[in-house]
Subunit: 396 residues, 2 copies
Amino acid sequence: MASEKMIQYGSKRSVIRELFEYGNQRAREVGRENVFDYSLGNPAVPAPAAVQKTAIELLSSDDLMAVHGYTSAQGDAATRQAVADHLNATYGTAFTADNFYMTCGAAASLTITLKALTESPEDEVLINAPFFPEYLLFVENGGAKPVVVPAHEPDFQVNFEALAERINVHTRAVIINSPNNPSGVVYSEETIEKLADLLRTKSKEIGHSIFLISDEPYREIVFDGVTVPYVTKYYDNTIVCYSYSKSLSLPGERIGWILVPDAVTESRTVYAAVCGAGRALGFVCAPSLFQKVIAKCAGETSDLSFYRTNRDLIYNGLKKIGYECAEPSGAFYLFIRSLEPDANAFSEHAKRYNLLLVPSDDFGCTGYVRAAYCVKTDMIERSMTAFRKLYDDYRS
Amino acid sequence: MASEKMIQYGSKRSVIRELFEYGNQRAREVGRENVFDYSLGNPAVPAPAAVQKTAIELLSSDDLMAVHGYTSAQGDAATRQAVADHLNATYGTAFTADNFYMTCGAAASLTITLKALTESPEDEVLINAPFFPEYLLFVENGGAKPVVVPAHEPDFQVNFEALAERINVHTRAVIINSPNNPSGVVYSEETIEKLADLLRTKSKEIGHSIFLISDEPYREIVFDGVTVPYVTKYYDNTIVCYSYSKSLSLPGERIGWILVPDAVTESRTVYAAVCGAGRALGFVCAPSLFQKVIAKCAGETSDLSFYRTNRDLIYNGLKKIGYECAEPSGAFYLFIRSLEPDANAFSEHAKRYNLLLVPSDDFGCTGYVRAAYCVKTDMIERSMTAFRKLYDDYRS
């Protein structure tokens, strides 16, 4: 009756979602306060007051038709200019409104970009592990072939050797995500420079430019004075995919953008392809109220210091017990080394203590679990005994 | 550098958009009040007060994380239940929350549905002319083949003979759109019954069910006591695509839904395919604030009587002059017979009087122009002299 592939996509729950549902069931059995649910990567602080105020002002306007009306397909011009101004002021770039295409959030930014840049089932898109599992599906569904680049352990920077080996004449793009979901690692400037060098060399070798797709929903969530290099300054053929889900705590409002800098080869043609892909996928005109909110709040963020408090608590707590973790410099994830080779078995074992940790296999690497610490701070405190017991089961 | 097809989609402006831009240019030359722009189909009345009030209340909530948080992929359960309740009360149907998938608007409803129902480049989707031009692109991009069924003139009901001829073993679905853009015609109950009979017969003949995709963004905009039959009651394998763009005047907010009734063959599997397609296209979780607005305002409409006033003015005015038009029972479009065989030449000629009318060729039929009368009422009054002059050029 329907597409087999779509039935399959729609029938299989993700491991993350399975764990989350299990957590809800356990909460009914043993009480919410006794379940330590680290499964979901959902913002844990509210949107900034400026966002709330601006949205209410817009809705109180006499001209609701302007507030709720269609913007141009690529987004409201004032919104795109505000985004450009904010980035230019923050990163010393020189973007204009014409470099941006407003989207319905991070997933849309990626599916549109992939649809714009690939066209043949032979086209390959390289994905650096560990990665957000939906990347595989987005690339496949865009009509191209996802190629996984294994993780570089234990620092989770880029695995350059493996990446270089996988680049060939079919390579169209490489996706990076820093600060990273699920590892919490931030790519260093050295990593970005080396990546840019490699992609320049390889582009010459294969006779066409390789795009670098930088997926950056966690850009603003970094700790310890770490800076996230602005990737377009290191590599010309960079397309940035952004969403306000995390920085403004608006995950449900589906608002983000795609940036196609002038430095991209045939930039205006690539931008036209982005517009065409948005149209073909049914994405023209991102939600208008929140486009207009962004026009006034492009530089705002939620209270992101909350995540640092949580990061310190869970990271220091686990280190003290004896766990090994990837360097958690950004996003709101801790990537904990599994205490047995099979992370699925480890995650299963952790459930005995009502600790819900996502095994790393679906993120494209084995032997870790992800803890999303965008949770109430006291839950972290209360979970330490459970983490201790879990550790003791393996070490005693 | 990028996908040729997407570059092409993104580079060519639609005829409608071309005319609109021409209108803006003429307004600068001769004054806005002297341009009679009937090009764009944009709501001309504001959102209802209840929508505004509900949105402000939600934004004033203490729990902004709930307001702006992710809903489940298929949409907030309370929202889907409210939509079901409203339809059941209005049309005597028996839907539940589980029959609905909330979407980012009409285009998303269609691209998701088409992706869910088709899977091979040999799959065919029949489109009844005249039609919204993006249908072609949505079907093509979903990976199937659009097949146009010529218009049934002069009443613009279904061309059953042409439709029957085009159904074969590759046929997966038929798209209808009533009240219709661009003709303003509403399919009669007789038409829907005959269509249902034909699809049942043909489904048996070809050995699989043919889906009827009913695209209904104009459902509530009808005049003269005309009723729009609720299509699911006539044909089991109906999927309804809806958007609040017109009924609530929220075109920019991208909020709508897909309805997969229980009566559909293997209904839960088809629903799973819709969920899978939403995921693959990057559409999970429709904009959350407006999902929650719909939960409280599913039965509201904007002041749609405005369109009837306009319809009466333009239709009666043009009839008096001598123009022939399709029966304008719904939506906010008048389909006027061109005064020369080539509608493009006629549209071009009309520009001499600053009358902007969209030629029908891109809607899949020749010899008409579309006037979108969702405009200020006094513009219609002022445009009558221009319509008269245009008529005289051909009749004198």
